[in-house]
Amino acid sequence: MQTERGAAATPSNAPSATRSVVGDAVKVAGSDRSRLMDIVQSVQVQLGFVPDEAIRAIADALGIHGVEVEDMVSFYAFLTREPKGRFHIRLSKTPISFMKGARDIARAFETAVGVPMGSMSSDGMFSLDWTNDIGMADQEPAALINGTVVTNLAPVDAETIVAALRQAPATSALPLFPGLDGQGPSLPRTRVASSLIQPGPIIFSRGGRGDGVRAALTLTPDQVIEQVTRSKLRGRGGAGFPTGLKWKLCRQSIGDAHHVVCNGDEGEPGTFKDRVLLTEIPDAVFDGMTIAGYALGARHGLVYLRGEYAYLRSSLQAVLDDRRRLGLQGKNICGREGFDFDIRIQLGAGAYVCGEESSLIESLEGKRGAPRDRPPFPTDRGYHQQPTAVDNVESYVCATRIMENGAEWFVGYGTRESAGTKLVSVSGDCPHPGVYEVPFGITVNELLDMVGSPEAAFVQVSGPSGQCVAPKDYGRRIGFEDLATGGSIMVFGPGRDVLDVAHQFSEFFVEESCGWCTPCRVGTTLLKEGLEKILADRGTLADVTALEALGGTVTRMSRCGLGQTAANPILTTMRNFPQAYEARLRPEPFLPRVSLREAMREAIAVQGREPVGEGEQV
């Protein structure tokens, strides 16, 4: 109906084309409002952006309001309501990419395309933008070209890539994976190295596909949870909640349909171990989810795959298809009557906050990724208000290994409170960046020796939300009793500026704050500005004191983990590198944010006279 009316009202057939694209996308998603993310992504691939006409059409087709669609679309960095170039080149922006020369790569792309970063070429072929960490810290500088990842870029590559893309045949839809899909141009640098440097005894102990599931099926669901509890497995995303307890709580919750969710958002800058797991041993991840499905009585599993990892989707889907053929997915798994379990992959669209489990659930439901207030916890009311266990990719692999080899074997590794091993993603000033499986309890010193960076000036443990560790604390241990981490280890050598890094991390939180709560929405910007005053050599002792107090308020008052850790880049560098701040401070009791003379320079030059009043400083 809508399509016909649109076509009749307009001489051009563009509106009806939009309506038909939307109609198809909505149909594929089964007219399910909670699949709004898939619908919008599909529309964007077809049209290059999400025009107002498409927003209205989606709303009409789903029977919701346009404002609800806009709410969701405008939230995600990878969804756009403005036309973008046919090839959207997004350079990864992290302290690591900058130290590896990303600014030079940006200049090279600007030259090759002929427009500055943040804009689109006049022929509509290219858009150039920065994007936050894309999970390639081991092979920066890296970029996304639509969905394709290019890594280890050198400035000379920009011209080659741009030239190849200019040759791409014009088709109606956006080439999602230029250089990879066999249709378009062949691009250099599209290989994502695995970077598995040191496999260890647990995660990379080779179990056969489905072995863990079959082992679990010899136990009752309660016995499976009991095993996981005895293994002392704690969540590998970094928060460290006991997995056995989470599963027990979830199993006990009453609901119509329990859900198993795999958190593959891996958004913490500097981490990429989940990418390696999903590349190297996806079956171990799916086995773990299936084991959880059995233990919790869940029939539905969801993998939330961050938008940056879209290139992994088809290979993961192929693995799932294989598993279905082998009886490891679908009905009566491994021949067990009544044990049905299906896994669906949901792609994200560029939002760090979706790594937070309740935001992730909101995003899975096709909404903006705003966290929920707890209680209720997801184990009570999660996905579609049903009992839901959300666990990290690595946690599921651990669950698989525990089923294969037993809880006692697992607790034989690690420390008292941190059983097993941990994957760490090491990047930065380090000769061998990559993934290492290390025993819990390893000191930062031992880790630095292992990766070949004993001279490190400082180490960022756990990404921006973690801690900036100084050499005096290199004796500290990786583990839940000391340095808890999801596994991001960024190494900074002598000569790196700790405050510059803190500033980049502060900017990251400004861009990634979801905006739901005041302290994080406003506080992240105020923290960044406070640090900028100090970096501009206009900071006084009073500014440091005020910044510290502000950081405390943001930490204490914010609603979710993002805001509660957003001040860490500033607070932990203040604590561990006070000299870096002291060196920047001015002796005056107070200086305004901007220099009056600087602000009036142009006016002074034009008028040819000095402002009245005595010596306003600098």
Partner: protein, 243 residues
Amino acid sequence: MSGETFTFTVDGVEIEAFPGQTIIQACDAAGVYIPRLCYHPDLEPAGHCRVCTCKIDGRRSSACTMPASRGMVVESNTAELNADRRTVIEMLFVEGNHFCPYCEKSGDCELQALAYRLGLAAPELPYQWPHRELDASHPDIFIDRNRCVLCSRCIRASRTEDGKTVFGFERRGIHMRLNIDAKALDETNIAAADKAVHVCPVGCIVIKRTGYRTPYGSRRFDQAPIGSDIEVKRAHHPAKEGR
């Protein structure tokens, strides 16, 4: 209200609650005021502003979303919490463009009243001077986003009370804004009688030609500080004092 009542304490005062009540609901009923901004008694809580953050059994959480439970120990009126609340209110002042002296909501504005109650004389945090859109298209209703505090009261009220979904959010972080379900407000089916129009705590959504019916000086918070209407209930039940 089903189930047996139980008690918990707020700053040492014993509060009676029904199962299913949040901390703020139970406290309001008992005449104990916890500062809040985005919470509205007729709407589902949303946990935006964090002003009602309390220490609950030692952990911070928003009183508007946390269910009360037996024996809970809540700290609310402490110097530490009030200082953090004051900073959060200050953040809202510098985030938008708030000019109390010529705002028609002055004296009836919950943001302004909270600032007075919490002792915020003038913000010291840097003003952000954002560009915010106005919408004067509707014959009866005026929207000035300069004064919006993103509390979502209008969004929630329009959806659940009016059944219209005229409002929503757009974008994220510091760029988040109040959005409407059309290009301009007069293209929506909003009406001046809607709940969504009457729940705005600040001067963002106002009804045209009514702003100065009550003169400055005779308005709600000119008479008594914000929260007085709640606290007066407790004054009538002095026996409940548990200190």
